[in-house]
Amino acid sequence: MSSILFYVLALVALLGAAGVILAKSPMGSVISLLGTFFALSVIYLLAGFQFLAAAQILVYAGAILVLFLFVIMLLNLGAMGSRFELSFAPLQGGRARLAGAIAVAFALVGLIAAQRTTLAATSAPAADAPAIDGLEGLALELFGRYSLPFQAVSVLLLATMVAVIVLAKRQREGEHGGERGGERGGDPR
């Protein structure tokens, strides 16, 4: 049962991913991406990763995608159409065909690699198997063995914060305009 659900979700995820590429407006892409994220989240859950499933929803859907939406709104890119429309224009042309070939090749390489690699046979898991990413275990790993990257991430987030401020903060009065008229277009509202 859950296996069938997985394949359905997998299809959803792939369709969502395709939607990201094919959506005419960025807004459509976001919606598609959201679908993928949700599908993945459920798959995580099915595969026994409860914490990750939650984190996927919280961080990706809740934070990152909202950020995307926010920027799209901010830049007035969402006005292009409220309906979800597909456009195959990006897949046309020689370069896109080349890109398509590369992508297909990547998928094939991944498939073949996975197929030719011998993984130990999966035994059927118990229906009520405990989550693989139990909180205690995760915590011990994060604060134990991986405490260094964990702390480094704090510096990383701090640096990210600073970086974002540097890049996106509104320009002060008197700061030089850009080469193409910073005052006029630099601060869309």
Binding site: V155, L156, V166
Partner: protein, 485 residues
Amino acid sequence: MNAQNLLQMFDANALRALAPLIALALGLVLVLFAGVFPLGRAVRATLVVASLAASAVLHGNLLLGGETPGKVLAGTFESSSTTAMWGLVFVASTLFAWLYSVRYYEEDAPFKNEHDVLMLATAIGMMLMAGARDLIVFFIGLELLSIPLYALAAFRRDRARSVEAGLKYFLLGAFAAGFFLYGSALVYATTGSLSLDTLADPAARAALGQPMALVGVALIAASVFFKVSVFPFHLWVPDVYEGAPTPVTALMATGTKAAGFAFLMSALVLLPASTATTVALIAVITMAAGNFGALAQTDVKRMLAYSGIAHAGTLLLGVAGAIHGDPSNGAPVQASLVYMAAYVATAAGAFGLLALLERDGGPTTLESLKGLAQRRPWVASALTLFMLSLGGIPATGGFLGKYLVFSVAVRSELTGFAIVGVLLSVVALGYYLRVIIAMYMQSPEHDANVSAPRPASAATTLASIVCAALVLATGVLPGWLLELT
């Protein structure tokens, strides 16, 4: 593992290993806070220099102070004399970049503190990369290096080229990060481990021969190749180097590349011997791409960007030699260390002087360099020295590095590749000489267009002198550097 031995992990050894990073992190926070208060420029400068100096001293202590901590924090991080030396290289590259940045931006440019914070953050990232014994640690280090650099590249956000540089670097960097992660996942899936040391175990090594692991390793390699700008992952380099503020370019050219190679040298275990030929081939193609690309340039900064690609190719040849030869032999690591150390001094000096010259007006082109020897004899002679060092002429550090790297290749029976590489470095001299020609042997076509030189800041002067001295010292008396590494 339980909560008690969590704390035990942070013993004195681990602290000693992490101290150089902590010093920088502390400096970073303090600089950030200093921005909140109306403190003078001097305070900020003092903090930056002090934290870098502290880090350098701590590294120096690790290097010269006898026993090194070795692998700490459950084997995720290593602090050896090699990483200490790399650390010194990173500190030096950050310091040079910072010194050159002091007067680079306009007086009233905003976010000076943030600029310095981001620079310090990159240095921490580099050190994490060099010391990483676990792919997670490496990944965080990589991002800690990259994310601030994305912002730094776009630091002059009022200039389209700077933003373009930041955006290109960012997008492609993220793309490469995707490769890295997917590759790590495949490696993990096959071997069940992310630790480089565990991967060196015979069982894991056997697993590493599986197709999926090989694909994973290839993707990881691709992402590192991107960072160190190796063909065909190098195309961003000229654009980003050109668009980024020049001191940042210096940092990218020296620090990032050094960190990438530091990781490559310590992650050799991932690469089976059969990959050596491919890597050597890529190395040679990279040298060709870099050198021929540079040959077509008239903008000196862009030319140096391509030259950086060529140098990455040279170093990669050393990596190929290391793969091919006995990995336990320390020579390749030493060769890449020496090469990088010399390259840092050289490239930092060169880019720094370009930063200085830019302030005289506009980008530095071959045209604008004409007659520089008459206008600024010292700058011209220093730039000449750097060009010769980049070209690997003896009596400069560049020669020593080139010699060592090619000797690794010859040692590993990659002599054919070495010969091609050597011939390509003749092409390289072709464009380095053009810089010298412009400065010394040509005079400006319109004297009126040449603006009067603006005096160099003390920081710039100091940095240039130190760079030049290092280049000469490694070239003439290489003993000390070879002893250190």
